[in-house]
Amino acid sequence: MTALRWSYMDHWRADSPRGPVTQYTARRHMDDFVKQISAVGFEGLDMFDFQVFALTGMFGSVANYQDYLRDHGIDKIVNLFRGIMYDPRLADPHVRGTHDEIVESTRRMLGMWQALEIENLIVMPASLYTAAAPVTDDKIKAAAECWSRVGEMTLTEFGVRTTAHHEFFCAIRTESDIRKFYDWSDPRYVSFFCDTAQHCIAGLDPVALFLDLHERCSGFHFKDTRQVDTTEAYRHSPDAELMAPQTDRWFHEMGTEGGLVDFPRLMRAIRDTGYTGWITVEHDKANIGGDYAEATALSMWYARNVLSEICA
């Protein structure tokens, strides 16, 4: 499995005498976090772009943090997730008048990470479904234009690919709309990031989607779900991910009992299409009735004992 490496997308919480905290609150929590993900075999780390502020405060710079990661067995920060709240008055991909701001704010943010060799900037390609509805071809075209511009900038100025991650509650969420988005965006500058659970919840087959878009695919979030959205939760306002009535927990670690994602089939597709590089494991909101540490260890048990044989 040498052509594939495992990275960890950080949503971590640690127990502390002050209750649940993130590892960005104290160096001792950071030490424990990094040791834990390293212990189970991760070599890369993904995180939200805004963590640059916490890391700079804790380590002096993100470059220092990457050195620290290497000392603990984590080779690099692989991907950044753009933590931006869209607002049609300021920054919203389907509002063309805000594209300059999206490009500039992204440039500012990536500039803070310039010392590192980030591979992908992951973005939600459109705002919440409820904020963009009705979704029209023109809105999808506007989003495609937006990310083509951003992607050209990130690649040429920072060597970072811009890649789109379609949350189930995102405006570009159906198979046909996703297809249109990639048809209308520049393949040189906009990649596809396959989040297995998000597509599954949206009623799509993530394996079929990957096979369709594999030439554009620049990474994965491997996580599982036990539920398809059967209640139009994606329309739930103000939030579908944490507040929709259907469930209080959409996401589970891969290999979970009752999981809907067919990871072995996806792994075979990855092997057969010749994808190489990083696969990111994500446990989004595992603290809801679960535990980040356990979910992380269980995921890597699954990766090593079930999936690695497929790509051996």
């Binding site: 424990d32 834990q36 993900i37 212990a39 189970v40 540490a293 260890a297 269980l298 004992n305």
Partner: protein, 314 residues
């Protein structure tokens, strides 16, 4: 050095009615495997809510010993040892606990432990880890020799299955005393009875685990590795009901947690010195994280540390 890395599964069972379902066992075993450990130590228990507590309970839950061991192997680990304290009650045997200090109870202890050795033999595991002596205060003149005789009898029974008995010293035990421990070992047959060094238990009791290890290296055949930030300097472990007042409640200092992952901040155990003693030693080093608020977290931290402690390539 062939130190094999194991993990104690009892950390997942903080109370008698926790950790009862097979899917919980599978998750714990997968966590242990994912963290790089290849062995698992079971802990004896009693009653219907302790399905891993004794071979008969395992068979009742999983169908048979063979089925359980197959599941463990499929997950990527193997049973390496079983811990038993003969002083604990056994509902299945209508026993309120037995004392190795009482020669009249030796035969019952031998028979009580026999199923564990047979289970270990089927698992291909070689260590029955036992509590060496009951708590402080129980030991009176002459009884140490009786205890040694008792362990020799258990050792002889275990040897029939190719299993060695290994004496474990916890901080509350009367054996947590260098002189007592040396005499107990002197009284037992080195061919049948070994010693488990538990780094944190000895440290809490005021002993130096490196010194104990080096002093009895020829008898050490099993390890329990965990860390601590505290020594019981006030001798609270010697008081009656110390398990409740000192170990559980934390004593006068109200210590929330006596035991920590190896390499914890402020840890008192000198693990590099322990590893140095083990240069020519072979056996299972079972990592523990009793009193942890999060077993998976502790297993991961111990896994990280274990690799650095015992991997010569690092």
């Amino acid at each position: 050095m062939t130190v094999r890395l194991g993990y104690a599964i009892n950390q997942w069972k903080p109370n008698f009615d926790d950790f009862t379902r097979p899917e919980q066992h599978r998750r714990a075993l997968k966590v242990i495997a994912a963290c790089g450990f290849t062995g698992v130590e079971l802990r004896a228990g009693t009653g219907r809510w302790d399905p891993l507590g004794r071979p008969s309970s395992i068979a009742a839950t999983y169908g048979s010993t063979t089925a359980f061991l197959g599941l463990v192997r499929e997950i990527g680990v193997q049973v390496c040892s079983y811990y038993v304290d003969p002083g604990e009650p056994v509902d299945e045997e209508l026993s309120r606990g037995r004392s190795i200090l009482d020669p009249g109870q030796h035969a019952a202890i031998v028979e009580s432990l026999r199923p564990f050795t047979e289970f270990l033999a089927e698992a291909g595991a070689g260590r029955l880890v036992v509590r060496a002596l009951p708590g402080h205060g129980a030991l009176t003149d002459g009884r140490l020799g009786d205890a040694a005789d008792g362990w020799n009898a258990v050792g002889a029974m275990a040897a029939e299955s190719g299993v060695r008995v290994s004496l474990h010293v916890d901080c509350l035990s009367a054996a947590a005393d260098e002189k007592v421990l040396a005499e107990l070992l002197d009284g037992t047959d080195p061919e049948l009875v070994g010693l488990t060094v538990d780094t944190a238990e000895l440290t809490v009791a005021g002993l130096d685990p490196v010194r104990v290890l080096s002093g009895h290296l020829d008898r050490v055949d099993h390890l329990h590795l965990k860390d601590t930030r505290y020594v019981d300097e006030a001798g609270e472990r010697l008081a009656p009901h110390a398990e409740a007042s000192m170990l559980a409640e934390g004593g006068a200092r109200e210590i929330d947690r006596w035991f920590y992952e190896c390499g914890t901040r402020g840890g008192l155990v000198d693990f590099p010195a322990v590893a140095a003693q083990l240069r020519d030693w072979s056996g299972w080093a079972v990592f523990e994280s009793e009193q942890t608020p999060n077993p998976a977290r502790s297993a991961m931290l111990n896994g990280w540390y274990a690799r650095r402690l015992f991997d010569p390539n690092r």
